[in-house]
């Protein structure tokens, strides 16, 4: 006689649910659930994704509380504030709901069981080192950031500038906003004002507007473009030779492992542990392969 099926409902909470970045993360989580469901006929895991549409700590906390109130079996959440999520995470754990941090981690006092993701500062450093390989240790660089004060982006910026500060590179931080049109305008203005600039970089998905900027100003091949995240336009820019490389933190992994960990925690009481999702660098050498995977939702 087959035992009664155990059903688990896991919820992913991200801090800006409407952006495309989370697509592979959610896919990773769902794939993990499907694999487990297939492998173990006694369990049925469902995963869903929620969160504030735009970055908003207090709204994300409200949502987390609501999810806890709804009585789910596990929470996978980004923690984009050093302390704001300490209380609700503790509250969830007290209610027997395991919580795994993903993508963006909170301060050291947060009681989440584990964190799966990239160190943002490390990722920023990686961008900086790769950039120096391409442009040397002198010259001007424009750095775009969508939103000042956004924890993860601010940390990437910190890592990047730490590396650049060790060189003679002069950099300018530019706020591009999340709107592509405006982002392109700002970078264009920067390049016009600094015709000797060697590179433009973005610490976020706005990297995708670099192609337009360089094409527009006829600077293809003269100014290096680099940045973060895998979005179709950025990959296309790498293929077309506008953008040199982009850094990826393997969001698929950031969704996949937490689901596995929650499953193992529930079924076998195995305590989750931190996992580094790595720093993936995508450039002309591997872009084709990545594009194929991105098509399928893995990257």
């Amino acid at each position: 006689l087959a035992a009664e099926k155990k059903t688990y409902e896991f919820v992913i909470i991200t801090h800006s649910a409407s952006i495309d970045f989370w697509v592979p993360l959610v896919k990773g989580a769902q794939d993990a659930a499907a694999m487990i469901n297939a492998a173990n006929p006694n369990v049925e895991i469902t995963v869903r994704h929620t969160g504030p549409r735009l970055f908003n700590v207090s709204e994300q906390r409200d949502i987390m509380e609501n999810v806890i109130e709804a009585g789910v079996d596990g929470i996978i959440t980004t923690l984009p504030d050093p302390t704001a999520f300490d209380e609700p995470v503790a509250q969830a754990l007290a209610r027997g709901i395991p919580v795994i941090g993903t993508n963006t981690d909170a301060g050291p006092n947060n009681p989440r069981l584990a964190y799966v993701g990239q160190g943002q500062i490390a990722a920023g450093r990686a961008l900086g080192r790769k950039l120096i390989e391409l442009i040397g240790t002198k010259g001007k660089v424009g750095i775009g950031i969508e939103d000042l004060g956004h924890t993860a982006l601010q940390e990437r910026l910190q890592g990047l500038t730490e590396v650049l500060d060790e060189t003679d590179i002069e950099y300018t931080v530019l706020v591009t906003t999340a709107d592509l049109t405006q982002g392109a305008s700002v970078l264009e203005s920067y390049l016009i004002a600094n015709p000797d600039a060697k590179a433009i970089v973005n610490v976020d998905a706005n990297t995708q507007c670099h192609g337009v900027v360089l094409r527009n100003l006829g600077l293809k091949g003269k100014v290096v473009s680099a940045g973060f995240d895998l979005v179709p336009a950025t990959l296309q820019n790498i293929v077309d030779g506008y953008t040199a490389f982009t850094i990826d933190q393997n969001p698929y992994v950031q969704g996949f492992y937490p689901v596995m960990q929650l499953y193992l925690y529930h079924e076998y009481g195995i305590a989750p542990g931190d996992i580094d999702s790595g720093v993936g660098i995508i450039d002309a050498s591997n872009v084709q392969q990545v594009m194929e995977l991105a098509q399928k939702g893995y990257r």
Partner: protein
């Protein structure tokens, strides 16, 4: 003009309402519509989820709406008078950032820091008011500008980095904690501010002047009301209250980011207008604003409880918002 007879009857002031039965008085109230919308939405969520109508969830809702709700109360005054303030989210951030820095970095006593924060909120509101009113400039543009300025200041003083704040226990008790069987203190603040706002708007000469200026500023001026002063005072109150909300939020979250409060102006204005306050001036009540805040809070809460997809939440919220304002204004439409 319902009937000519009603108009010409010399109404002894108390004579009229006494004859109208209670249920009709409720039906005729301007807030009935938004109340109806609230009831309908609540019934829907009670049926479609098991958790909506539980005490812990209700308390959660009250907590979640309290930060915005506190600001809604003061925004009601500002909108009745036909002004607008887009800078509230930035005031919220700047005040809480400043309090956090005073407390964290300079070791200022948290009560004193909070008091300074409230005064700062008032000054930020005063600047809005004086520039818009005395400069005779459109408040929309002025406060859009100050929204950027105040936010910029919050970024500058914080260096773009969030501040974690571990507050003394007593202060936390009075601002961020839960008391008596898990009642969240922020919701008590919200109720308190609501009652005070209701008293000021509906029971004092100041509230009367707000309605008069909102109805016809020129007439109010000719009748001897200091129009500029009332408008500026409104902005100051809104600034103080936004700062208060910021401090409570800081206490509750134990942290401040320089981006905190971004976009709340739209939610606050939406709640106010949904509650029946007209952007054309002269019309609105605190009870309506309270109910409008509740409607928005319940929708947000209920949709998450139902497990609605993140992509659909906004879509559905939008639909519900329009339906709610429809029910709300249709129930109180004058028939001719």
């Amino acid at each position: 003009m319902k009937s000519t007879s009603e108009k010409t009857v010399a109404g002894g002031p108390a004579a009229q309402p006494a004859e109208i039965p209670l249920y009709r008085r409720i039906l005729q109230r301007q807030e009935f519509g938004v109340f109806l919308a609230l009831i309908l939405i609540s019934i829907f969520f009670s049926v479609s989820t098991t958790t909506f109508l539980t005490m812990p969830n209700m308390l959660n809702v009250m907590r979640q709406i309290s930060i915005n709700g506190i600001i809604v109360m003061a925004m009601t005054f500002v909108i009745i008078i036909k002004d607008i303030d887009l800078s509230i989210g930035s005031t919220f951030a700047l005040v809480s950032m400043l309090v956090a820095i005073m407390f964290n970095t300079y070791g200022v006593n948290i009560w004193l820091a909070s008091l300074i924060g409230l005064i700062l909120g008032g000054i930020l509101g005063l600047i809005n008011g004086v520039v818009a009113v005395k400069g005779q400039l459109p408040p929309f543009i002025v406060t859009l500008g100050s929204m950027m300025i105040y936010r910029g200041l919050a970024l500058v003083i914080s260096g773009g980095v969030p501040a974690a704040v571990r507050l003394p226990e007593t202060f936390f008790m009075f601002t961020g904690a839960r008391v008596f069987g898990r009642i969240p203190v922020p919701s008590l603040w919200f109720l308190g501010v609501t009652l005070i706002a209701g008293f000021i708007l509906h029971r004092t000469s100041y509230g009367f002047k707000v309605y008069a200026v909102g109805g016809n500023a020129e007439a109010a001026r000719l009748a001897g009301i200091d129009v500029d002063r009332v408008r500026i005072t409104n902005f100051v109150i809104l600034g103080v209250v936004s700062g208060l909300a910021g401090i409570i939020s800081m206490s509750y979250l134990s942290s401040v980011t320089p981006t905190v409060g971004q976009g709340i102006e739209m939610q606050v204005i939406a709640a106010t207008v949904l509650g029946g306050t007209s952007m054309l001036g002269g019309v609105g009540t605190i009870l309506g604003s309270f109910l409008g805040t509740l409607v928005l809070g319940v929708v947000r809460n209920g949709l998450v409880l139902m497990g609605t997809s993140a992509y659909l939440i906004d879509l559905i919220t939008g639909i519900v918002l329009i339906l709610a304002v429809f029910v709300s204004s249709y129930a109180h439409r004058e028939k001719r």
